[in-house]
Symmetry: C5
Subunit: 316 residues, 5 copies
């Protein structure tokens, strides 16, 4: 009898579960065909839903069935190396007596919460004793709050760029602005559909709990809205900074041009006069002992005249 069990274990390596009272929390990291087959055998889920757990092109949504709800969430995960925010999928089956979470293990707050409940009985009680809906609230709340440090990181980067732009080290700011902008765009696209899903979640999972969760979910919706507002603001700010950068770069080009012109105005007349007295033809003052002085005087007069002319025309 031992062997079949072993083979069974081989088939479902990533299915972990916790139980408190009536409620079981099944957590599946990095789901594959094996895990969805396991679910298909043990629960009566719609085959399309099981496909969706593995698919890469899902959108956050709520699918209602008689006995259970199938939820898909996307939460932002910040990749430090590529400096990009990408969406990580969390699929949830919620019934009265079970909550099944499927994800790729990138959502750290969820992984941590599950571990806490595994190790610490008090934590298990706190999260699981109020029914599956409350457990779901606890998970979502943690994941939403996890967005805040990412937001703060963005604010920090924006402020750094702002300081750089007006300093001398403005150069690198273009790349920084470009990366930040793309990151904010991606982040917004992830948050946008979650708002609708979390906003309409509470009435649908009310039946799985005796507790009144409206205030709790209302609070979470407020947080998501706050994140959305902040991202909107950041998007406008970063676009404004891009415009400012361009204006300042235009100024800098203008400065260089003016410098060139100043050099030209001062040095060219000298060359011109010197060339004239360099000609191999009879020239005035040529044999005077003060000839150099005369020539320098002429140069000074021409330079002075040009400077005066351009200043007056406000060209310099």
């Amino acid at each position: 009898m031992a062997k079949p069990e072993v083979s069974k274990k081989e088939k479902q390596p990533n299915v972990e579960s916790l139980t408190w009272g009536n409620l079981t929390w099944v957590n599946i990291e990095r789901p594959t065909d094996q895990e969805t087959e396991y679910l298909a055998q043990n629960y009566h889920f719609h085959p399309l839903d099981l496909d969706d757990c593995l698919s890469r092109i899902q959108r956050p949504k709520i699918d209602e069935y008689k006995d259970y709800l199938f939820l898909v969430f996307h939460f932002p995960v910040f990749n430090k190396q590529t400096r990009a925010t990408t969406a990580s999928q969390l699929s949830v089956f919620i019934g009265e007596k079970y909550l099944i979470t499927l994800h790729k293990g990138e959502l750290k707050p969820l992984v941590k919460l599950f571990k806490e409940c595994q190790i610490d009985e008090e934590s298990r009680q706190e999260n699981l004793s109020q029914g599956s809906s409350y457990l779901l609230y606890r998970i979502i709340d943690r994941l939403v709050d996890y967005c805040l440090p990412i937001l703060n990181k963005i604010v920090g980067n924006i402020e750094e760029v702002e300081d750089n732009i007006f300093s001398d080290s403005a150069r690198g700011a273009v790349k920084e602005i470009s990366i930040l902008r793309r990151d904010i765009i991606s982040f917004r696209r992830i948050i946008w559909p979650i708002r609708a899903v979390i906003g309409s979640l509470e009435p649908k999972i009310r039946r799985f709990t005796k507790m009144d969760l409206a205030v709790y979910f209302g609070d979470t919706v407020d947080h998501v809205d706050k994140i959305w507002d902040a991202l909107d603001e950041y998007k406008e700010i970063i676009e404004g900074l891009n415009d400012t950068y361009d204006s300042l770069a235009g100024n800098r080009t203008n400065d260089v041009m003016r410098m060139l012109t100043v050099i030209a105005v001062i040095l060219l007349p000298i060359t011109v006069i010197a060339s004239i007295w360099g000609m191999n033809i009879p020239l005035p003052f040529q044999n005077s002992t003060h000839s150099l002085l005369f020539v320098f005087l002429i140069m000074a007069v021409i330079i002075g005249g040009m400077l005066y002319f351009f200043r007056r025309k406000r060209l310099m």
Copy 2:
């Protein structure tokens, strides 16, 4: 009696059909007047609908009649040569016992599905045994999923452009950005009206089937929404990349200007001093043996002074 039959065949060259149980799938590639006349003779369709199958200025829509529905879809087809995404029309007549599809043969997944059903009986059963509505779902689902490789191609191109922009080969990126931008704009315009049509389709074709297709069509709508979201994001990203390109090009112009200025600052003073000692008038140190050294010293002092001045004014 043979001749009339031949002439009849000449009249309807592109009408192919499949039957399973009650359901007949009529597929017409590249419809012309001949084919619509054939339909007019065999079915009681509204003349405006038959016109619409041939017209070029349709918009995706659902026209409801007592016995049948007339649907027009536009799906994106990517033309590799022109690198442009264009819309290809699919006209559908759906009744309880028939599904008639008219298209130009550009929609490969549809052509392939029809062929599969022709050749493979199992496939025919799988697609046709659940009534005309389910068959329609199968066709639309395939066509929607066919958009994903086009999307992935766009993402790939965007990432390539992004890499190019910050490298030295930024030059060609303008054209690349322009083409991508136009392609994304066209793609969005094609997807936009399909969303509404597919979203409102299920309740209208419910009567042609015993199966509950709500979950299936809900899934397809999610996919279309996902495509729309992605295109929206790509549009914002490509606009951001265009701005970044311009900022970087501004930087590059500025670099060239600075280089010119550096050259001017170093070489012009030498020329000036050399011109002065080239004058045919009595000059200081003229007859000294170290005159060249004196002159070089004067040049070095002037260049040094200018460099110091411009550095201090942060103009260089």
Copy 3:
């Protein structure tokens, strides 16, 4: 008795009418006070409506009264000389037994349709035999379809601009883009309010006909929506082309700058060295027979060094 009749004719020179069965189509080109007075005497129209027929600041609208409807449409007319699309007003009074159209004679399809019905009895029957509502549908349908060649003209111009931008003749493209952009903006402003009017027209004129016109008007609304979608797309494309033009112009300026720099880097060192040996002071190699060779060698070394330096700094 003759004189009064003549004077009466003098008063209403531009009122033409057609009759078939119960229905009379009154067509008034270039209406003035005379024509509206004629209408005021023969029909019981609201004075504000008659004013609106002559006013220049109308907006497309439907005014409902017990016996009749007063409609104002604006259709785009393309002026080849100014290359601008302007709105031309069509005012319509529709009752059960009459349809009165007032316009400036610029709407060619309407003028043509009226002439057809005057000359050709078959055409008269086809258009007038189904009641005033159907006649109205025929007129609107022709006028909407008349927008398509204007659209195609715009597409053609956009493609031409696109080709020009990437070719050497990019210069003139700015003016072309500016004119196209303004034209598209005007066109959109004309189409925008028509959509709402045509979309809500059918239920209001249903009472004047026995025919079911819902499908017909639905088709026309689809065409107007298609035109709107197309204009929206063209607007986005032309804005994208403007950005592309600017990016390419920036590139071109950069190219010219680089050329200037290359010239400076090659020619200035030669001048500098030549000036030095042009000084009237004792110089090295001055009396050697290979002095020119030595000097050229020094020039070549300096130019080479500068080219190497700038290439390495990726400034050239």
Copy 4:
């Protein structure tokens, strides 16, 4: 008894009134505390409303009370000197038997209408005989129509700018565009809230009249919408013109750059060759009688070569 009356007059210098039948029109120009106190003593208005008549931060609105309505309108007034459109407030109290208008005297059509009614009895009858609602309609209609000459002025300015941009006098166009843009923005902000107020006005003042004013107010709403549409279009056009101006300015900079380059390509080689033969070392052809010819030939060859090279590289 005379004195108190005089003092009373001193207290209410700007209250003028007209009466026809039951209806009294009270017109107050430049209201101050004195005038609102007068109203407070004679009518039972809400103190907040009286405050609003004097306040500067109102928004167009309708406040309904049992006996009367309090309306705030803002109409655009064009200041020729500053070339800016600003909002001028009109506060209205309307009851069954009175209409009280408070404004700063800047709304010329209103001032003129009141004067007409004072002087001309026929005009008084025409405007006041149909109840307070009709009088209100007459006032608003005049004020709305008064926007049209301002609009026409803007169109004229836009067309002037358009002509300037493509001519040689493009310089001043920036300032012109900037002023026009700001003016259009301000104008839109004034019209925007009036639309809602006028649109919802008719049902609320129906009770003060026996006449059916729906058609009249519908007409006014159409005019306001027309103005809004026009301003929207102008905003888009002026933004497009700004882009066009920038593209053309880029072209012009490019032209100047090219000219500089052409000068450099022609003159620098001459200087270079001349400098070489100016060196104080043994030079070829130095003693030939045709030496100048030889040197000019070398110059011509170098210039020709450079021109050929740059033309071929399409840099010039």
Copy 5:
């Protein structure tokens, strides 16, 4: 018995309260855990609300409970040093007999109002005698009106920037525009969610008062809308000014370029001719006494020719 009281005082240092009739106003500045614990002990508030008072990521909102309402507002506070507008939170618990306000002490009008009521009995009566709802109105009204001087400051800054842009001191305008833009963006983000909260507040707090507050709150909503409209307008204006600045900067660069070109056109030919006559080869007019005159003539002809050529080509 003294000691416990002291320790109690230590626990609640920042809780101040006012009473008039039934109503108590509790004001808590800079709330910490101590203060929320104090509230938890004395009132039956939901623990989530008490958390929200201390949290930094709230959004303006209304949470309704049976006995009380919990409100969160954010009002703009302008920091003179950083020149940035930031949001300052005001948390309010409102019941029939109490109003509890928690804030960081940055909202000066609120601090001032509380002090007035502490010191001046008349003021206390005026604000507190009408129930908690009216007191809340008084607080919000003051805080909303406090936005107006900030708005006026922004308008002043915009006008200053506008004047600067067209003057010679345009340089610093970029930074000014950038700071103003960011400030307006932040301000808008703060006002946006308050609109919804204040707009829906009145019906929810009606039960705590006998007075009809609808007109009062309607007035406050109008003020908030006015602020919103103004900020929207300022945002458009500042974006327009940024565009204008860029166009003008482009003009200025062009001017400098032209000046350089003028210098080049005048000075280079002189140098060229002088260099030619500086060659150590036989030259024409070399021994003539008027040789210098001849040479100057040649220079003048060349300069004149170039000026004529470029003027004709409209390049200068």
